[in-house]
């Protein structure tokens, strides 16, 4: 049984240096570092995210089941609604069942929210931060979800019929199971065929996702009349690094999305997530116009160190924790 870390001491030092750079970056820009709970009475409702549940011995008024956060989004938005202004946090986040060369169930997120900035202004800042950390002169390219599918699969992901999407999953992704639902098919195609091409020796900003994949982002109609999410993902060397939104501000629409997620959870036999009423009240009280981004720091370190596996940048991944 090995007790040593899977990351080298050099990788551990580079992580410390990068954290220092990040803190300096935000200090210069007047963004406040905050700390919010990793344990919460609610969590993400996304049917495809599995939160770790914790049994806590508490008073009868308090829910006995708490969740380890998949992201600090909800409490950070409550801070924004209280007038915190722009804030950032470096924290551990947890996702059950996500294990692989690029996934550890416990990983480090850098998440920040910019009051008064739209999505593209925030992406400029994300790019600036990454340029500071990597310092490798990468150029930046911007590509819409639709254009990415047109370029690498020669289809329109908004109009292509489900049967053709499934046929592509079979021919290009080794899928041999039952017909996939639309977003699942798009997910398989994007991760198998498209992602390996994104961010090769550059930074690729993939934007304008289908509205069905908006999560907590605003939805708008683009110039082709399609309903798209104000969402942008950043890729480096085929690796998904950051996910940014122009944040949804409307409390009743957020509530509808949470309820719709729970319905989907029922359909797939998963348990309901209790709605985060405190977040919804904060939104009802008023979130400032803001954009937010979640950036996987372990993955950014993998790029910086040229690592092929996430265990090279994490001292003790879960299997040797």
């Amino acid at each position: 049984m090995s007790w040593q870390p899977s990351a080298t001491l050099d990788a551990i030092r580079v992580r410390a240096d990068v954290y220092h750079q990040i803190r300096a970056f935000f200090y210069e820009r007047g963004v406040l570092e905050v700390e919010t709970p990793a344990l919460g009475s609610s969590t993400a409702t996304d049917p495809l995210l599995k939160s770790l549940q914790v049994d806590l011995e508490v008073s009868p008024e308090q829910s006995p089941v708490l969740y380890l956060q998949t992201s600090p989004e909800f409490p950070m938005k409550r801070l924004l609604a209280s007038g915190s202004g722009s804030i950032y946090q470096i924290c551990k986040t947890f996702r059950s069942g996500e294990v692989g060369g690029r996934h550890n169930p416990e990983f480090t997120m850098l998440e920040w929210y910019r009051a008064g900035m739209d999505l593209w202004a925030l992406m400029d800042e994300v790019v600036a931060l990454i340029q500071r950390v990597l310092d490798d002169g990468r150029s930046v390219e911007s590509l819409s979800y639709a254009d990415a599918f047109a370029r690498y699969l020669e289809i329109d992901p908004f109009c292509c019929d489900l049967e053709s999407l499934n046929a592509l999953c079979v021919s290009r992704c080794g899928w041999s199971g039952q017909a996939l639902a639309r977003d699942d098919a798009l997910d398989l195609l994007i991760s198998t065929v498209i992602e390996p091409h994104l961010g090769n020796n550059c930074m690729t900003l993939l934007h304008s996702y289908p509205a069905s994949q908006a999560s907590l982002a605003q939805v708008m109609t683009d110039d082709k009349g399609r309903l798209v999410a104000q969402r942008c993902e950043l890729y480096l060397d085929g690796l998904e690094i950051a996910n940014a939104y122009e944040e949804l501000l409307d409390e009743s629409e957020q509530r509808q999305r949470f309820l719709a997620d729970n319905e989907k959870r029922d359909e797939i036999g998963s348990f309901d997530i209790p709605l985060d009423e405190r977040l919804l009240q904060a939104m009802a009280s008023g979130l400032p116009d803001c954009s937010g981004v979640a950036l996987g720091l372990d993955r950014l370190l993998m790029i910086k160190l040229g690592a092929k596996d996430i265990s090279e940048v994490i001292a003790f991944p879960f299997h040797i924790s």
Binding site: D46, E98, L188, Q213
Partner: protein
């Protein structure tokens, strides 16, 4: 047999796929941001030897395959089957057909030990050890002193295998052969 879910897939795990027993070679977890997770799996079909690449939704499961590997001593060949005996003291015998023995047939020497893979209790394949020591039964005479580099001649062995050997080798000599490459290594160590 028990079912295995994608997050239990490890290299070497034996599972059933499309009715054939397969061995998992590689398992890649793939998940786009906030989307459906998939596992892209490479498997070797243990019947055909072909490598398959298949994608599963994370959390799906496959039936485990009853595939076990055992050390067995080669006994004899009755013209239709090759007979092996377990070396674990049980004296249990198994009969392997031509398909199971396949290429290993040219390395089978009575009383030597081989790895026999059983599928549902019946021999699926036979694997020779990396090195075997076999006796030359037929080859052109070796000239004494002909140890110069280069130059080889074919030699036939007791098992029927034909391997290129150095010119100095004579009939009756025992040689060490690498079964993975089919090449001469050296004179037998046990001589």
């Amino acid at each position: 047999m028990a079912n295995f879910s994608t997050n239990e897939f490890r290299s070497g795990l034996k599972v059933m796929l499309d009715g054939d027993p397969c061995s998992i070679i590689d398992n890649e977890f793939v998940k786009p941001g906030k989307g459906q997770a998939f596992n892209r799996v490479k498997l070797r079909n243990l019947k055909s030897g072909r490598v398959w690449e298949r994608t599963f939704k994370s959390g799906e499961s496959l039936e485990g395959a009853d595939v076990m590997e055992y050390d067995m001593e080669y006994l004899y060949n009755d013209g239709e089957f090759w007979h092996f005996m377990m070396t674990d003291g049980s004296f249990e015998q198994h009969a392997a057909d031509e398909k199971a023995v396949a290429d290993a047939v040219k390395w089978l020497k009575e009383q030597d030990v081989y790895v026999v893979t059983l599928y549902n209790g019946a021999p699926l394949s036979v694997t020779a050890p990396n090195f075997v020591e076999l006796e030359v039964i037929e080859t052109d005479p070796g000239l004494k002193g002909d140890t110069a580099q280069g130059g080889s001649k074919p030699a036939k062995f007791s098992t029927g295998a034909v391997v290129n050997v150095p010119l100095f080798v004579n009939v009756g000599e025992k040689l060490r052969i690498d079964t993975r490459t089919g090449e001469y290594v050296s004179r037998a160590k046990s001589e």
